[in-house]
Assembly symmetry: C2
Homo-oligomer: 284 residues x 2
DNA sequence: ACAATAGTGTCTATCAGACATTATCAG
DNA sequence: CTGATAATGTCTGATAGACACTATTGT
């Protein structure tokens, strides 16, 4: 690289490796965007929010929602703003959802038009009452991210034999840009974070039953969990959930009514709630 | 936000929220840099690689090494290049070290001069024979990141009572820009990753003893671990380490010579090697 | 001899997986 | 009634923490 051994006087500055008087903004101009992998659990199946592209390149292809970071906002603020826009929710409502930075994608050729660096975020939403905001974000849709487990786990316990494992992960057509890669990374991260954080409650409404919480794990991981053992683990973890008084029913139409809980104050899970089986692990 | 309800035809594109014919590069010009949190363990103390700034702002302050992402390289390539430059090692040697993306920092005012988005990376190095590359990176130094544990753990076991816990974390003076924040995030990440990955071997030379590997954990976490239990855990985890034949000594000058091991093929740790005590957890 | 480290083995508390059992609902 | 879910309880195997003990080096 030409910048190598340019002299430590400049290098040690850690920022201005360009010659004195050279305007850095003219030196390396980048566009910075945010891309969002927004997940939710609907009917025991994992869904991701996708938009259909209206212009080249990748016209007509599915893509992750996202957009430019504006001059006076951080990437996190841009992601929150885009989340509100794409879901059609008020900024105040959207502000309550879990949003966390995933990682940044910066391959020089990831956008054929120009140099675009994208900061990817992962958002977890409960199943929203309105299937999507009104007319505005008409082209944004929830698309099933078919894990082959999910309903699989529930159906396996129920004894029926649905199309378990017969579906591929991800939507039918490949996504635009490197969004397929981003989405895969996001899914891996979400699955891993369920193990050692209390993040599963982010998929649930404000009040939920332990059966619903268990279904989140089963849906995301694509496995069946033992209800009594899951219950014991959750209730013995301080601060994971908080019991409520009202005892109506939930979780399907059948069975004994379940007690309601709210998300607790804890964020981390110690010791973690590890996935069963686990073929082989990956680091990140 | 003014861009709200701008029409989904543009929004769904997910990238060009600017008016047609408007050049995006002129619309939002960012500079993109990488910052590196480079850790190593020297003499049972955690050290981080810092540089002294040679110009305003923050003239004379310590900062993380880093620099601009060049027009034709990814952020990861830029980080690898900077790592080679700052450590004074060949690109080939530096390519072997563990380098992973931490997260991206994009607060609008994080650099007083202009809009700079920085992709932060964490690197883990073994204790290098040369205290730092020759004349080139003269102003880069290893600075003790005083955990108050480390030597603390070793001394505690040894029965003496050094300045355990009497040191603060981090260098004496605050770092430039938001590098204090980046460094704290990097340290948290490293400590967490030791729990559920085999990353500790990245701090060790190619051949190491279990005592040296244990010291990595003790140094980073600032705790004392039980040597027999640590040994059992490591050896019963498939693929964590791989035994070698040559049985010379190591780990200080005293005691029985220890068997040598190499890093194994595994990257993840299942089940994890959890930190003792653990006051309260944080998610990321 | 003594200190220090490596390595082996043992005991025990804790925790997760498996699973039986009872309770309470809808149909 | 049957089927489904909630909730409690029990048993057992795996694992981690605590710690005793032996082995092998340098001083």
């Amino acid at each position: 690289m030409s910048a190598r051994r340019a002299g430590i006087g400049a290098a040690a500055d850690g920022r201005a490796r360009v010659p004195e008087g050279y305007d850095p903004s003219a030196f390396v101009p980048f566009a910075v965007t945010v891309d969002l992998a927004v997940f939710t659990v609907r009917e025991s199946r994992l869904h991701v929010l996708l938009v259909e592209r209206g212009q080249e390149p990748y016209l007509g292809a599915w893509a992750l929602p996202g957009g430019f970071v504006l001059p006076k906002e951080s990437a996190g603020q841009a992601a929150r703003r885009e989340l509100a826009e794409e879901t059609g929710l008020s900024a105040r409502t959207a502000g309550a959802f879990h949003l966390e930075q995933l990682r940044t994608y910066s391959e020089p050729d990831r956008d054929p038009r120009m140099r675009v660096v994208s900061v990817a975020y992962t958002a977890l939403l409960p199943d929203l009452p309105e299937p999507r905001g009104g007319g505005d974000a008409a082209r944004a849709q929830w698309v099933e991210f078919g894990p082959g487990g999910a309903g699989g786990a529930a159906r396996a316990r129920a004894g029926s034999r649905g199309p378990v494992g017969s579906r591929r992960r991800g939507p039918g057509r490949p996504l635009a840009f490197d969004h397929e890669h981003i989405l895969a990374d996001a899914y891996d991260r979400v699955g891993a974070k369920l193990e050692y954080t209390c993040l599963a409650t982010a998929f649930c409404p404000a009040e939920f039953t332990l059966g619903e919480l268990r279904q989140v794990y089963e849906t995301v991981w694509g496995v069946a969990l033992d209800p009594p053992n899951f219950r014991r683990k959750v209730l013995t973890t301080p601060g994971f959930v908080q019991a409520l008084e009202r005892p109506p029913r939930r979780t399907g139409g059948r069975g004994k009514p379940a007690a309601l809980y709210r998300a607790g104050a804890a964020t981390a899970l110690h010791p973690p709630l590890l996935r069963p089986d686990r073929p082989e692990g990956r680091t990140e």
